[in-house]
């Protein structure tokens, strides 16, 4: 296991990616290691408002000379994310990372499907860029409500292209790419005979539910990155549990956030 640390990080840059989303780049001293699918608990503020840290999937970790750049893609949905969107470059935050278990990126894979819906992109993008570096072939399916909310399209395309994979874009309103849900785009290719060793996905619950159905149909190994409200991020509060197929509640932060779809309780899917 990679050592968890509570890092003092410095806001290096914030870049708007869409009307609601932005990229937050943080610098930590020394090396930081992590695998795609892992996440961090980020303090948004000094003081008690908001009170708890926020969970964000790592979207990239790049070693620099003597320091590490940690990247997040964040959607502004409330107090904490609004504060982060307005964080002053140079200001200090705390980041407890890396946490949880990431995607299975075993080198032997023939071809993987990476699927991201909306702000589910960060762990998928991290995975794509790592896989591109390892020359593991994958297709990347990226869906969003509309063209404005398709994030990091270029990076996605570049990563997929590097290993001869396809970057499939879909929007709910057809304003760019296929006019379809991202799962429909995947289904189409599967029924056309495209074969994957495994699907790695992150996105809204309905998307993950549809994906699970699809995976079952095609007997496809599928790993899902889940979100549950979190307080500690390290398995001690038991606030973030998800129900497994065997009936147990396990902390998403510690046993996940990435789970094989088959391990999850059916009733997890609404």
């Amino acid at each position: 296991m990679i050592a968890r640390r509570d890092l003092a990080v410095c806001v290096a840059a914030r870049t708007d990616l869409s009307p609601t989303c932005f990229r937050l780049t943080l610098t930590a001293e020394g090396p930081v290691e992590a695998v795609p699918g892992q996440f961090g608990m980020l303090s948004c503020v000094e003081g008690f408002d908001p009170f708890l840290r926020r969970a964000f999937s790592l979207a990239g970790v790049s070693q620099r000379r003597g320091s590490t750049e940690v990247e997040f893609l964040i959607k502004e949905v409330g107090k904490g994310t609004t504060l982060l969107r307005h964080a002053t470059p140079g200001s200090e935050l705390r980041l407890l990372a890396p946490l949880g278990n990431g995607f299975s990126l075993d080198p032997g894979a023939h071809r993987l499907a990476l699927v991201a819906g909306g702000i589910g992109l960060p762990p998928v993008l991290f995975a794509a860029e790592v896989l591109a570096g390892r020359e593991t072939r994958f297709d990347l399916y990226l869906g969003a409500a509309n063209v404005a909310e398709l994030l990091e399209v270029e990076r996605c395309g570049k990563a997929a292209a590097a290993v001869g994979g396809e970057a499939v874009l879909t929007t709910d309103d057809g304003s760019r790419g296929e006019h379809a849900f991202v799962t429909t785009a995947l289904a189409r290719r599967l029924s056309q005979g495209r074969v994957y060793d495994r699907v790695l996905a992150c996105g809204p619950t309905p998307m993950l539910a549809a994906l699970t159905e699809l995976a079952r149909e095609h007997a496809l190994e599928t790993e899902l990155s889940l979100e549950e409200p979190m307080a500690c991020g390290v398995g001690v509060c038991l606030g973030c549990v998800v129900e497994l197929a065997d009936g147990r509640y396990v902390p998403t932060c510690k046993e996940g956030p990435v789970f094989p779809a088959a391990r999850l309780a059916a009733r997890w899917w609404p």
Partner: protein, 306 residues
């Protein structure tokens, strides 16, 4: 200036007054690299029942102003698994362990204690009669002095180890329940557990938590916890108290000690900082050094009234 951090809770002497609270530090081994359990005055385990418990459905937690509400429902691995999996490691590391004991019936409390009695390395039991998140048992014992005295007496009969009762801030009569616990044979009292509270989702028109209500913790409740510690200390000045509720800084600890606690537990703060207990201990030591306080124990109950 070097500060003596040790305090006594009746017959239990601990190296420092900072403990990790039940339910916020797992079984003491989840945060080893941030907060080694042996460096704390004591670690209190997550509430243990005779059998493993699944706990409540989700959502279980929600953030509030300067606090949070939880309804975990006492999910735990059961006393047997604790004794086999966690306790040996805690013992080997030299941690002072307090087992938080929970049962739906009085006999279950005794069962947990009896199982633990077969093990070395447990310094104290903390009877959790105040968890607002279970329907059966638990909460009633903490609200009714007569039942609480009986339960404590049963616990007392089962062990010669240190026995604490953790008081409910929701009880109709705080001092009455405190007295009942002491009459039943408790060596000390820990207070407070969480306050019954609720959060509502205005969009969904539903309680945020699956169980509807839960327990409020964090800095929001500190002023209430301090008042309760002071009230119980004034009523029962010779009973060792462990203060809990919103402790985030060394200064908070000083406040609880002044109010009459001999030690404090750090709960929710751990979620914001996995090394919180150690950071708080450091701040306490610095506060004492800067204020010429040679021994932390001087502070206990040293509040001057006007």
């Amino acid at each position: 200036m070097s500060v003596r951090l040790g305090v006594e809770l009746g017959k239990l002497a601990v190296a420092n007054p900072i403990m990790a609270a039940s339910g916020t530090f797992g079984y003491g081994l989840d945060l080893l690299e941030f907060c080694p359990p042996e460096r704390l005055g004591a670690v209190v385990t997550k509430g243990l029942s005779p059998k493993p418990r699944r706990g409540s459905p989700t959502p279980r937690i929600v953030e509030t102003a300067a606090g949070m509400i939880n309804a975990i429902g006492l999910q735990n691995i059961g006393v047997e698994a604790f004794c086999i999996e966690a306790l040996p490691v805690l013992r080997q590391r030299g941690a002072v362990v307090a087992v938080n004991v929970f049962g739906e019936r009085m006999e279950e409390y005794v069962e947990v204690i009896e199982r633990c009695e077969r093990e070395e390395g447990i310094a104290a039991y903390e009877l959790n009669v105040s968890c607002p998140n279970v329907t059966a048992g638990g909460i009633e014992f903490g609200h009714d002095p007569a039942q609480l005295e009986r339960l404590t007496r049963m616990g007392r009969a089962a062990t010669r180890r240190v026995l604490w009762v953790k008081l409910s801030p929701n009880a109709p009569d705080l001092v009455g329940t405190a007295r009942a616990a002491v009459d039943g044979g408790a060596d000390g009292l820990t207070l407070i557990n969480t306050l019954r509270a609720m959060a509502i989702d205005a969009e969904k028109r539903r309680p945020v938590l699956a169980r509807g209500c839960g327990g409020l913790s964090g800095p929001a409740i500190k002023p209430i916890a301090l008042r309760m510690v002071w009230e119980v200390h004034r009523a029962l000045p010779s009973v060792p108290l462990v203060g809990i509720g919103g402790v985030e800084t060394g200064r908070d600890v000083v406040e609880f000690l002044l109010a009459g606690a001999s030690a404090v537990q750090v709960g929710t703060a751990i979620f914001r900082d996995p090394a919180a207990p150690l950071h708080i201990l450091g701040e306490l030591e610095r506060f004492c050094a800067e204020h010429g306080i040679a021994e932390v124990r001087e502070l206990v109950g040293a509040l001057e009234w006007h």
